[in-house]
C-alpha cells in the first residue's frame, strides 16, 4: 500500500514528520512533505494511518 503525497496541497504543518519520522520529512526549501519511503512495512502502517488522519490539509493518502 503506497503512500501518496501532494506537495501542492501540503501546508507544511510537520505533523507527518512528527508522527512517522522514518517515512516523512519536509523540504528544506518550502517545508512541504517529502516521502522518504513510499511503501511502508506492515508494522509501520498504524503510524502512517495516524499521519494521514492528522494531516491538516488532506495532502496524504494511503492507496490500496
Amino acid at each position: 500500500m503506497p503512500i501518496e503525497a501532494d506537495p501542492e496541497v501540503c501546508v507544511g504543518s510537520g505533523m507527518c514528520a512528527l508522527t512517522a519520522p522514518g517515512l516523512f520529512d519536509q523540504s528544506q526549501d518550502d517545508g512541504t512533505v517529502v516521502v522518504l519511503r513510499p511503501v511502508p512495512a506492515d508494522p509501520e502502517l498504524d503510524d502512517v494511518r495516524d499521519a494521514v488522519r492528522r494531516c491538516p490539509s488532506g495532502a496524504l493518502k494511503l492507496t490500496d
Binding site: 514528520a17 519536509q26 528544506q28 517545508g31
Partner: protein, 402 residues
C-alpha cells in the same frame, strides 16, 4: 435558522466554574447539540461547534471562509479584546485570508518552521531557559513565573528566530508584556500596537542596511512582500509566536502544580515529556475564543444546515473535551496519547509555529522541573488571577517558590 433554541446569546459565556475547565454549558451543549445556534455580541446569528468530529469537518471544508471581514467579536466586552483586523492591523494577516492569497504568504514561511529546523533550535532554547532560571535565582524567591520566566523566555526565542537585534529586544519584551498583562482600553491597546509596529519598521530597515542569517532578513531581501505586508507578517509571527507560548508555559506549570500526582509521574519519568506537552495543550486549549469559519454557501453537517454567511465558532476548548475522541476528557492525564487534539486547529490554517511551540514547551517545563525540584505555588492556588477577559487564556501572574 432551524427550529432550535438559542442557548448562547451575546457571545460566549465567560464564567468558568473551575479555572482549568471550559464553562459547563459547553459540555451540555455537546451532548445535546454539537452544532448549536448562537448570537454574537454584534447581534449576528451563527453557530457554536462543540463536537470534535464536527469541528474537524468544518475546518477542512473549503466551502468555509476565513476572511477577517466575516468574523465577529466572540466575547461581549467594553475592553479592546479584539482589534479590527482590517482597519487597525497592517496587511499580511494571512490567518484571516483564503486561498490563493493565504497560500502566497503561507508558502513563503513554511520552510522556516519545519520540524527539523525547530529541533535544531533546541540548544538555543535550552540556553535561553537556563538564562531565565539563573535570573530567577539571582532575584530570589518568590518569583512571578509569568514575568520572570515565561514572557521573557518566549520573547527571546521568537526574537532570535526572527532576528530582532538585542538592543530592540528589551523594548519588544516591555511592549509585549504591556499588551499581554492588562485589560486595556481600546486607545491604550492601539498605542501599544503602534509602538510595536514602529519598532518592527526600525528593525526591518536595519536588515536592509545590515543583513543577517535570520528569518526577517530572508523576508526583507526575498522581495516577495510589499513593505507594509512584511511588517504585517512579522507582527503576526511575533504576536502568535509569543503570547501563546508564554501563556502555555505559565498555565501549564500552574496545571501541573495543581495536580501533584501528574507532576510526580513526570518527575519520575522524563520520557513522558512529549505526551505531557500534548496533554497540556489539549487540556488547557488556551485559544478559548475558538476559531471562526463562515460558509460561503449553504452547507449541511450532521443533519444541520448552516446557511451561507452564518459564521460557525469552533469552540476549541470544548471540542478537545469531546469524550468520543478523548475518554474521561476532563481529567489531566499526561500518559494519554493526546496528539491529534485541535489546539493548533486543523485545515490549511493549522498553526504554522506548532513545532516551535512543542520544542519550547518541552524545554521550558523540563528545565523548570529539573532546576527546581521543590517548585511550588507561593500562594493559595485559588487566588491566582485568570485571564478570563483576554484573547489567549492563562494566568496574569503565578507566584512560585522553590
Amino acid at each position: 435558522m432551524n427550529d432550535m433554541v438559542c442557548p448562547i446569546t451575546n457571545g460566549l459565556p465567560k464564567v468558568r466554574e473551575r479555572p482549568l475547565d471550559p464553562p459547563a454549558i459547553f459540555g451540555q451543549l455537546r451532548d445535546e447539540q454539537p452544532i448549536a445556534p448562537m448570537t454574537f455580541p454584534d447581534g449576528a446569528r451563527g453557530w457554536v461547534i462543540t463536537g470534535f468530529a464536527h469541528a474537524r469537518a468544518i475546518l477542512s471544508d473549503s466551502r468555509f471562509s476565513s476572511q477577517g471581514s466575516l468574523k465577529h467579536l466572540a466575547f461581549a466586552s467594553e475592553l479592546a479584546t479584539g482589534l479590527d483586523i482590517e482597519k487597525d492591523l497592517p496587511p499580511g494577516q494571512f490567518e484571516h485570508m483564503d486561498p490563493p492569497e493565504h497560500t502566497r504568504f503561507r508558502k513563503l514561511l513554511t520552510g522556516e518552521f519545519t520540524l527539523r529546523r525547530m529541533k535544531a533550535m533546541v540548544p538555543q532554547i535550552e540556553r535561553i531557559a537556563a538564562e531565565r532560571v539563573a535570573a530567577m535565582r539571582a532575584k530570589g524567591r518568590p518569583a512571578d513565573l509569568v514575568r520572570d520566566f515565561s514572557v521573557p523566555m518566549s520573547a527571546q526565542v521568537i526574537c532570535e528566530l526572527l532576528g530582532v537585534p538585542a538592543d530592540a529586544r528589551g523594548r519588544f519584551e516591555e511592549l509585549s508584556f504591556r499588551a499581554l498583562s492588562l485589560d486595556m482600553k481600546a486607545e491604550e491597546s492601539k498605542a501599544v500596537l503602534d509602538a510595536i509596529v514602529n519598532l518592527l519598521v526600525e528593525v526591518a530597515m536595519g536588515k536592509v542596511a545590515e543583513p543577517g542569517d535570520d528569518l526577517l532578513t530572508g523576508l526583507v531581501t526575498g522581495g516577495q512582500l510589499e513593505p507594509a505586508e512584511l511588517i504585517g507578517v512579522t507582527l503576526l509571527l511575533l504576536v502568535a509566536g509569543h503570547e501563546t507560548s508564554a501563556n502555555m508555559l505559565s498555565l501549564g506549570t500552574y496545571a501541573l502544580l495543581r495536580e501533584p500526582e501528574q507532576l510526580a509521574k513526570l518527575r519520575a519519568d522524563e520520557s513522558l515529556i512529549d505526551n505531557a506537552v500534548e496533554e497540556l495543550l489539549r487540556y488547557l486549549t488556551i485559544v478559548h475564543i475558538g476559531v471562526q469559519r463562515t460558509p460561503t454557501e449553504d452547507v449541511e453537517i450532521d443533519g444541520v444546515t448552516l446557511r451561507a454567511g452564518e459564521t460557525a465558532l469552533i469552540h476549541l476548548p470544548s471540542v478537545n473535551r469531546d469524550p468520543e475522541r478523548f475518554p474521561d476528557p476532563d481529567r489531566l492525564d499526561i500518559t494519554r496519547g493526546a496528539i491529534g487534539h485541535l489546539t493548533f486547529s486543523h485545515g490549511i490554517h493549522q498553526c504554522l509555529g506548532q513545532q516551535l511551540a512543542r520544542q519550547e514547551l518541552k524545554v521550558g517545563f523540563s528545565t523548570l522541573l529539573r532546576e527546581f525540584p521543590d517548585l511550588r505555588l507561593a500562594v493559595d492556588p485559588d487566588t491566582i488571577p485568570m485571564r478570563d477577559n483576554m484573547t489567549i487564556y492563562g494566568v496574569h501572574e503565578l507566584p512560585v517558590a522553590w
